[in-house]
């Protein structure tokens, strides 16, 4: 084809009319069909199935995120203050221990009496504890802690 002087419209009509020669289309069809027969046809998936799959994926992601969060960050409640053991006087626990040790050198009736005494004391102490606790609960904020511990003969270490 010569590139002679032509107008735009002439060029277009020339390009339109000059179709390329399609040699041996049967061979190309055979080749296409051979390739196609080797490939599996992807069947249309049900929309509901796809939505379920998507939602399951989202749920799985959320669970993984929650798990990571649990492992990475400790909740604030874990850091709640625990009263130190030193708050309670050692003298109190020593006295109890001495009383228990003393029991071994006494006779059985005496021991029984002692145990009864201790139980009575504990009951009385428990009652005092309960009433003091209720008092403290009902009292306004900022109540003196020393006053609270004095009820039980407990010294407060500062």
């Amino acid at each position: 084809m010569k590139h002679e002087n032509i107008s735009y419209d002439e060029l277009i009509s020339k390009l339109k009319s000059a179709s390329p020669q399609f040699s041996d289309p049967e061979a190309l069809t055979r080749s296409i069909m051979l390739s196609v027969e080797r490939l599996p046809l992807r069947q249309k998936q049900h929309t509901a199935l796809r939505i379920t799959g998507f939602l399951s994926g989202v749920a799985a992601c959320l669970l993984v995120c929650l798990l990571v969060r649990e492992l990475a960050w400790q909740p604030a409640t874990f850091a709640a203050p625990i009263p130190p053991a030193a708050v309670f006087s050692e003298a109190y626990s020593d006295r109890i221990a001495a009383e228990i040790e003393d029991v071994s050198s006494r006779s059985v009736p005496e021991k029984m009496r002692m145990v009864a005494d201790i139980m009575q004391k504990r009951r009385a102490q428990s009652r005092r504890w309960k009433s003091a606790h209720e008092k403290l609960q009902n009292s306004p904020l900022g109540v003196d802690k020393e006053q609270y511990f004095n009820l039980f003969n407990i010294s407060v270490s500062r």
Binding site: N5, I12, L15, P20, I32
Partner: protein, 183 residues
């Protein structure tokens, strides 16, 4: 083949019928070849593009919506494929596919030497006028002016907005007119 027959064959192909698909290939492959040739300017490249297009069509049949024209959908796949090839060709250094040596090799391999000669000349002729166009401009120009598709159809096939089609077509026409004047 009527539009309804083609749509029916497409539905049968979706169900897995290779026979129906073969009929569609026979019907559409000359049209796809013509378009691919006009875009790629080479018989071999056009044939490769045709083969790849129909393989893609088969693989993506589950995505085809029978409400739309099957041929338009096939054109869309073919155009995307050719566009990718044009872009790749632009990035690579110019191939000497039209050199005398490669041409002589082609003649010795092809049974229909006359058809090959005609195709080679036509390819060179198209390439001469469209070589300086961008892939997008070439695509729009070929579809609109050479293939004769309507604006709406070009929009559907290329996925470009009407404004982009207009601007690309304007630039392509301008370039080709300048090229004609320069001869």
């Amino acid at each position: 083949m009527t539009r309804e027959e083609m749509q029916q064959l497409a539905v049968n192909s979706q169900a897995g019928s290779t026979k129906a698909f073969e009929l569609l290939v026979v019907e559409l492959q000359p049209l796809i070849f013509r378009l691919a040739f006009r875009l790629l300017c080479s018989e071999d490249d056009a044939k490769d593009a045709v083969q790849e297009t129909f393989i893609r069509v088969w693989q993506r049949l589950n995505r085809y919506n029978p409400q739309y024209l099957f041929s338009t959908w096939v054109y869309k796949i073919a155009v995307n494929l050719c566009y990718d090839r044009l872009r790749a060709a632009k990035q690579l250094p110019k191939r000497e596919n039209c050199s005398v040596a490669s041409w002589e090799e082609n003649i010795s391999l092809q049974s229909d030497a006359e058809a090959a000669l005609i195709n080679r000349e036509l390819g060179e002729y198209i390439a001469h006028f469209t070589a300086g166009l961008t892939p997008k401009q070439k695509l729009v120009f070929t579809l609109r002016d050479v293939q004769g598709f309507g604006a709406e159809e070009v929009e559907k096939i290329t996925g470009l907005s009407p404004e982009k089609i207009k601007s690309n077509l304007y630039l392509a026409r301008k370039y080709i007119r300048e090229k004609i004047v320069r001869i």
